[in-house]
């Protein structure tokens, strides 16, 4: 079964490796020059000492050169990539067998179909975890200097680091495998899985994520001579600490999530998507097991 799974998913694996290689090349080219510039401007020390207030010109110069690398529009489009990877790999897993009639071949060998499915799911899921971790590692390395200026709790930064990119891929994969069994055709199953994935992804990001933990409030504390702001890479930050995620203002000051909540937030959000994945794959295994009772 291991060989069969590998043989059937070989071209997908090669495609994923090509994607990863292209990303790595880009990251090394841009990331290296970003690191050099960051070192030349001695930003590390300045940020550590004064949260950037001591070297506003260096910050501005760095952002002018590399600011487009955190361009919101680009990363907003990129947020669908984990979903695309997941549905492209997941939808054909069962649907292609049903589409081409090869299920009669696959499930009439001396391997019960539930075992056939669980072995495939285990191997492909493992492959996707490795892929997700590798993509995350490359992006995290590439953005490391920039993250010192921006933190990584903000939208479009948080979503590409830590645990969540892998969890997003797995969730789209789980939805697509289930949709493939129910719809029996690969392309419609991809669409049927992608739409709810994207909806859940956006609802979690914009509705639930700001309240994963109770936000803090801080008095506005800007030096009178130096207007401060709350945007990405603004120095100085209105909350006084780089990387805090400001949700809004009330009469007591800024409401925000502190930067050091990155990992708790990552675990909470990854947990949500892994739970959805487990539910979808569990339902798929159960449905395939019961399929003999309903239809061949």
């Amino acid at each position: 079964m291991i060989w069969v799974s590998w043989r059937q998913h070989r071209s997908q694996a090669i495609g994923c490796l090509a994607l990863l290689a292209a990303l790595a090349v880009y990251a090394i080219l841009v990331g290296s020059s970003m690191r050099t510039a960051f070192g030349n401007d001695a930003l590390t020390g300045c940020l550590a000492r004064s949260q950037g207030t001591g070297c506003p010109n260096a910050v501005t110069a760095f952002m002018n050169e590399f600011g487009s690398e955190v361009n919101i529009a680009f990363w907003s489009v990129t947020l669908i990539v984990p979903g695309l990877i997941g549905v492209l790999v997941g939808a054909p897993l069962i649907a292609r067998e049903l589409e081409y009639g090869t299920w009669r071949l696959a499930w009439s060998q001396t391997v019960p179909r539930v075992r056939w499915l669980t072995v495939k799911l285990a191997l492909v899921t493992g492959g996707l975890i490795v892929l997700g971790a590798a993509i995350t590692a490359v992006i995290t390395w590439y953005r490391a200097p920039m993250d010192q200026l921006t933190g990584h709790l903000q939208h479009n930064i948080y979503d590409f680091e830590g645990l969540v990119p892998t969890a997003y891929i797995l969730c789209a994969f789980g939805f697509a495998v289930l949709a493939g069994l129910l719809i029996r055709r690969s392309i419609p199953a991809m669409i049927a899985a992608f739409i709810p994935w994207l909806a859940i992804r956006l609802v979690v990001e914009f509705v639930f994520r700001p309240h994963f933990m109770t936000p803090l409030t801080v008095q506005v504390n800007c030096p009178p001579t130096n207007a401060c702001s709350t945007g990405i890479s603004s120095v100085p930050q209105a909350t006084g600490h780089i990387g805090d995620w400001v949700l809004g203002m009330n009469r007591n000051g800024f409401i925000y999530q502190p930067a050091d909540r990155f990992w708790p937030f990552q675990f909470i959000e990854a947990g949500i998507f892994v739970a959805l994945t487990a539910a979808a794959l569990g339902a798929t295994i159960w449905l395939l097991h019961r399929r003999a009772a309903w239809t061949a």
């Binding site: 079964m1 291991i2 060989w3 069969v4 043989r7 059937q8 071209s11 081409y100 009639g101 090869t102 299920w103 009669r104 071949l105 499930w107 009439s108 060998q109 001396t110 391997v111 019960p112 179909r113 539930v114 075992r115 097991h289 003999a292 009772a293 239809t295 061949a296």
Partner: protein, 313 residues
């Protein structure tokens, strides 16, 4: 070839179903199906499209769970989707599904990793005999070659019962003949049991020694082909003859006779002794052919039967 089931003794049938039934929603795809196929038989499963043939075969293989009754293969009850049930049956599915982007060697590798008793030598030797290189991609094969690869995979699984679902319906006439000859050659000298379904009677006539006629989701006729032929007669009798006057059981009365003819042709189920005893002057008795026998049983089944294709697909 040797099989585990040899120890079970000669008396155990290769296949036995008892009151086997399968319902799809409110429609019965197969109902009250009781039959036996002895080990070593080459059995033809004949019936029109939608008769329940694929439903029966899928329950035998373990792809489908019965709604009613039981199916046992070599004396052991098959439960859908267990490795033991799957190991006992080799399956050549309709239209010979294979992975298009696999080479034949890949298909055999799949067979080897998914079947503990896989016979790689047999598989390679068969491809060699057919002059099909193992490095050919499945998508480059002709229909006849795909059928051969499917059959080879089922044989190399080394299951004692082989189930072939409409194996030749997608082939041209020459390939049909070659394929059936090849099946017979692989059956010769082994104790393999074959169950071959078809909706075309003539394809199977000269190859099969056991006959099962299925129509409207029910078994119409089943038994050794030779005995069934001997037990039926075509009687040409005066039109006025009532069924009750005929020997045995009247199965089917043809309506089309010669213009102005005063006679009917009736297929009766009666042994020769019975026939001789009850025969009247002016009656003509003829032996029945395989095809006439099957057609008579199919035609007497009320139409339209439940059309299961629409449900199963």
């Amino acid at each position: 070839m040797e099989f585990i089931d040899d120890e079970a003794g000669g008396g155990v049938p290769a296949l036995r179903t008892s009151r086997l039934g399968r319902r799809y929603g409110r429609v019965w795809g197969l109902r009250d199906c009781t039959l036996e196929v002895p080990a070593g038989a080459v059995a033809a499963l004949v019936g029109p499209n939608g008769a329940g043939k694929t439903t029966l075969l899928e329950m035998i293989i373990g792809l489908l769970e019965p709604t009613d009754g039981q199916v046992s293969v070599f004396g052991e009850t098959s439960r859908a989707d267990t490795a033991q049930a799957l190991a006992r049956v080799g399956y050549v599915a309709q239209d010979h599904p294979l992975y298009r982007d696999f080479t034949i060697a890949d298909m055999f590798h799949l067979g080897r990793t998914m079947n503990p008793r896989w016979d790689q030598e047999l598989a390679a030797a068969r491809m060699d005999a057919l002059s099909i290189p193992l490095q050919r991609k499945v998508k480059s094969l002709s229909g006849g070659q795909r059928a051969q690869v499917s059959l080879t995979m089922a044989l190399a699984k080394r299951a004692p019962l082989l189930v072939l679902d409409e194996p030749v319906s997608s082939l041209d006439p020459v390939a049909r003949l070659e394929f059936m000859r090849d099946v017979m050659a692989s059956a010769a000298g082994t104790d393999l049991t074959f169950l071959i379904s078809s909706h075309v009677v003539s394809e199977l006539e000269r190859f099969c020694d056991w006959l099962i006629v299925l129509a409207g989701g029910r078994v119409q006729l089943a038994g050794p082909a030779g005995d069934l032929l001997a037990a039926h007669q075509l009687l040409t009798v005066p039109r006025s003859t009532a069924d009750a006057e005929l020997p045995g059981t009247a199965i089917y009365r043809t309506d089309n006779d010669s213009p102005g003819g005063q006679h009917h042709t009736v297929l009766v189920r009666a042994d020769p002794v019975q026939l001789t005893a009850q025969r009247r002057p002016g009656w003509q008795a003829d032996p029945v052919s395989f095809e006439q026998l099957v057609m008579a049983y199919l035609q007497r089944t009320p139409r339209p039967g439940p059309t299961m294709k629409a449900v199963t697909r």
